[in-house]
């Protein structure tokens, strides 16, 4: 405060008043403001500048961590059993995956096998029908064009056919059975 009271005795105009004014000035000096004149001197609610700087940075950092966790778990999903067993199931690339392919290696597109295949040899036709669950092979001689035998292709027969045994031993069933059943046989 601007105190340091005047030198009252040095001023002739103060004659007779200097003592009273000095005592009144000292009396005023003893007075104090009753309380706090400014609310800012109480606990303040305003946030400091550092808070406004640190808060966005922290928010960005938390968002980055969350995004990183989401990306990480999105790339390597774990089955419930694997998580329960504590094992980590990693995706293993197949040997034919592009990752394991030689740099110059060309990929050949797969050709779909038609459901019915006609195989012609010198004396007969062979129909391989794969529409059903089990492949069926029908044989017909070229002169009759009637299916003489329909043989399901079993694993054993396939292996035998591969050896050329079963087909070579094929003989026409006897006509005496009279079962007909040919596609051209009438009633």
């Amino acid at each position: 405060m601007i105190t340091g009271n005047q030198d009252y005795d040095a001023d002739d105009e103060l004659a007779g008043l200097s003592d009273g004014l000095q005592r009144l000035a000292r009396h005023l000096d003893d007075q104090h403001y009753p309380g706090l004149a400014w609310p800012a001197s109480a606990p303040r609610h305003a946030r400091p500048l550092a808070w406004w700087v640190a808060a966005p940075l922290a928010a960005v950092a938390v968002a980055a961590v969350i995004a990183a966790l989401l990306v990480y778990h999105g790339r390597s999903p774990q089955s419930p059993t694997a998580r329960a067993g504590g094992r980590t199931e990693t995706a293993r690339p197949s040997p034919r995956s592009p990752a394991n392919r030689a740099p110059g290696e060309k990929t050949t597109p797969r050709t779909a096998i038609p459901p019915v295949v006609l195989v012609e040899d010198a004396e007969s036709y062979s129909f391989i029908d794969t529409t059903a669950g089990t492949p069926m092979v029908s044989f017909a001689t070229k002169d009759s064009c009637s299916p003489l035998c329909v043989v399901p292709v079993m694993p054993e027969s396939v292996s035998q056919a591969a050896e050329g045994e079963k087909l070579d031993e094929y003989q026409e069933p006897p006509a005496a059975e009279g079962r007909g059943g040919g596609i051209n046989s009438g009633p």
Partner: protein, 186 residues
Amino acid sequence: MPPDRSRINTLMDLASAGDEDTFGLLALAVQDGLFRLALAHGLRRDDAAEATQEALLRAYAGRGKWHRGSDAMAWLCGILVNIVREHHRRQRPRGTVSDDLARGQAAGGGPRATAGDDDPGPEELRQLREAIGRLPPRQREAIACRYLRGMSLRQTAEVMGCAEGTVKSAASSALQRLREILQKAP
């Protein structure tokens, strides 16, 4: 211990730059001085406290108008003196502490009966305050700033918003008038 003027100026520099916390510190540093200046101008304690708060509010609102390098305490005291003038104009029917003291004395109840918690001090101080209260506003301000708060001539002129010669003239007239009032007092 009165606050250092350079510290007040530094706090005012920071507060005028927008630091609200610094203004709180400034208010703590100057509130007693403003309160005593309001008392010296004849206000009662509760009115002096209100005037002090109002002065700080106005200083906060107008802190951008404060010129760096000037005397911050004088600027704050100038705001308070303007509030005291408004108070005297607005509260003239209600009067000041000297009017209260005069009314209490006339009623025989003693000065403290109407002055509330205001402590006028000894009898001679009460008479002196009453005499100061009877002065015209300019003369009262000159006495309060110059002799009761110990401001220099330049500071008083800055607070009152007038020239130093005007302060000298007002103070001289005030002292002469005080002497006359006190000589007439019983």
